[in-house]
């Protein structure tokens, strides 16, 4: 099949159906009717009403569009891959990381560095753990590969910094022990954002 058919972009020579195209009036009577209808149709007033309605919506029905960003933030999707967080076990409060090193291995930008050792109970403990956020591309492999759901992506997305390489230590990312109750569990890759219901809109066809 040749491409000629698709290369023809002249609207006039193709079989497009033009919607909303009224025909010019033919007789004098039709012209007169058009003039009268255009003169007395309250189209301009409809335009005025639409803007006034939006003003009433904004002022009295709490439908203001503006989010005053630094002061109020919209909730982000749980799938969003922002700055990492290290989670704790809820029962004991001990960090979940078992020092397996999978995240360090899979990191494609080589930004995770960790050192582990055996503690007195012959369990692995993490002695050094840093993420170089100057290199991190936030691909999410580390969180995906973690067998313990220990490293996850949190919601901190304001990541501007003064230095190109800004390292984050294990303790910085770990949930503070006194805020253990507020620790958010990772909801999984299919999770919807908390305000998903508000964002549902009619399809444009309904307008």
């Amino acid at each position: 099949m040749s491409l000629e058919k698709f290369k023809n972009r002249n609207v006039g020579t193709q079989n497009y159906k033009k919607l909303d195209l009224t025909h010019p009036p033919k007789s004098a009577w039709c012209k007169f009717k058009q003039v009268v209808s255009r003169t007395f149709k309250p189209e301009l007033c409809i335009g005025l009403w639409v803007t006034l309605r939006e003003m009433i919506n904004a002022l009295f029905r709490k439908k203001m569009h503006t989010t005053q960003y630094p002061f109020e933030k919209l909730p982000i999707s749980p799938r969003y891959r922002a700055i990492h967080e290290m989670l704790r076990l809820l029962e004991s409060g001990h960090y979940r990381c078992i020092g397996c090193g999978l995240c360090e291995k899979i990191c494609i930008s080589n930004c995770i560095a960790m050192e582990t050792r055996y503690d007195e109970n012959q369990r692995k403990e993490v002695s050094e753990y840093t993420i170089n956020f100057g290199r991190c591309i936030f691909c999410g492999y580390c969180a995906e590969v973690c067998p313990e759901l220990a490293i996850v992506h949190g919601g901190r997305y304001e990541t501007a910094s003064e230095q190109r390489a800004s390292f984050s230590l294990f303790e910085d990312m770990l949930t503070p022990i006194d805020k253990l109750k507020l620790q958010q569990e990772y909801q999984g890759f299919g999770a919807v954002s908390p305000n998903a219901d508000d964002n549902i809109k009619k399809t444009p066809l309904a307008y």
């Binding site: 005025l48 803007t51 904004a58 203001m64 569009h65 503006t66 005053q68």
Partner: protein
């Protein structure tokens, strides 16, 4: 009205009135920019100026500081004198026009017993004077656009000429019918004619609408803001202006908006007469505020027209309507 009953107009009273007009109108003209931004924002469901002062009320002062401290640039090939004079024309004519417009009812200051008239100078051809002054104000954009050696400015001044040619005839003809009814060109006579509570807009609805349309063209408001339409001719006649010279154009524009609001409310909407339980000064403020709001409302709602559409509208639609209105008014007055 019995003119002999009124106290004598002293020079002190006139000066107080002039200061009152100058202070109130220039304050409102500056404040109008804030109101405009706020109302337009609400109509687009935004917040508008918000952070300077409570509800952004001090935004006006911030803008003023910015305008005053900005570098005053005169472009290289500009005609320096005309470039400097043009903004003064716009601002000055706008305030001179207000000299012959009655704003508040006459009152006597208590204790010092100074009679302040309703109008700074009650010239008996008040309407002609005010319209003439406002029309002269358009020399500001015309000269500014031609003096700044900038193609966008030149296009802006060309459009000013078009606008000039279009609306002026409609303004005059639309006001002719109410003038015929009242039989005077003085605003005070218009006001006292409607003191019995019947507003002239009931007799002359078409003239009212025509006058509003022509007034929007006169003040470069949005359906007809061809002079400085950003999407087409960068900024039109103010392209090369900055700082306070630019600010003077806008003080003039907002003062003109208020003048049109005052004229429309005095000629058509009953002026500063008391109505029901409301005293006259509240009524005139309410009417001017509504007409000002209408201008912003129209700006939010309607798209602007092309220059040729403006000429088409004014010469082929509005002028015949105005002439027919005048003729019918004349016939009815002859019959009655």
């Amino acid at each position: 009205m019995d003119a002999t009953m009124l106290p004598e107009v002293t020079a002190v009273g006139v000066i107080i009135k002039a200061i009152l007009i100058l202070a109130v109108i220039s304050a409102i003209a500056g404040f109008g920019t804030y109101i405009e931004r706020k109302i337009l924002a609400f109509m687009q469901r935004r917040l508008g100026p918000q952070h300077v002062g409570p509800y952004g009320l001090l935004q006006l002062i911030a803008d003023g500081i910015k305008l005053f401290t900005k570098e005053d640039i005169i472009p290289q090939n500009a005609n320096r004198i005309i470039f400097a004079v043009a903004p003064v024309i716009t601002a000055a004519t706008a305030f001179i026009a207000l000299g012959a417009v009655p704003v508040f009812p006459d009152f006597t200051i208590p204790f010092v017993d100074v009679y302040v008239p309703s109008i700074a100078s009650d010239v008996n051809v008040g309407i002609l004077f005010v319209l003439g002054m406002m029309a002269a104000g358009l020399y500001g954009p015309l000269l500014a656009g031609m003096a700044q050696s900038n193609k966008w400015g030149l296009l802006g001044s060309a459009r000013t000429a078009i606008q000039f040619l279009s609306y002026e005839v409609v303004t005059g003809l639309s006001l002719l019918a109410p003038i015929m009814i009242v039989g005077s060109l003085s605003f005070v006579d218009f006001n006292s004619y409607q003191s019995n509570g019947t507003w002239l807009v009931l007799y002359q609805p078409i003239a009212f609408i025509l006058f509003l349309i022509a007034g929007y063209a006169e003040t470069n408001r949005t359906p007809f803001d061809l002079l400085e339409h950003e999407a087409e001719i960068v900024s039109g006649y103010v392209t090369e202006y900055s700082g306070m010279r630019w600010g003077m154009f806008f003080i003039g524009e907002y003062a003109n908006m208020i003048t049109i609001g005052i004229i429309a409310s005095i000629v058509f909407l009953g002026g500063y007469n008391d109505w029901w339980i409301f005293p006259g000064w509240i009524m005139i403020i309410a009417k001017i505020a509504f007409l000002f709001f209408l201008m912003l409302w129209v700006r939010a709602a309607w798209p602007h027209v092309r220059p040729d559409q403006l000429m088409w509208l004014c010469w082929k639609v509005l002028m015949p309507l105005a002439v027919i209105n005048v003729v019918i008014t004349g016939i009815v007055m002859m019959a009655i």
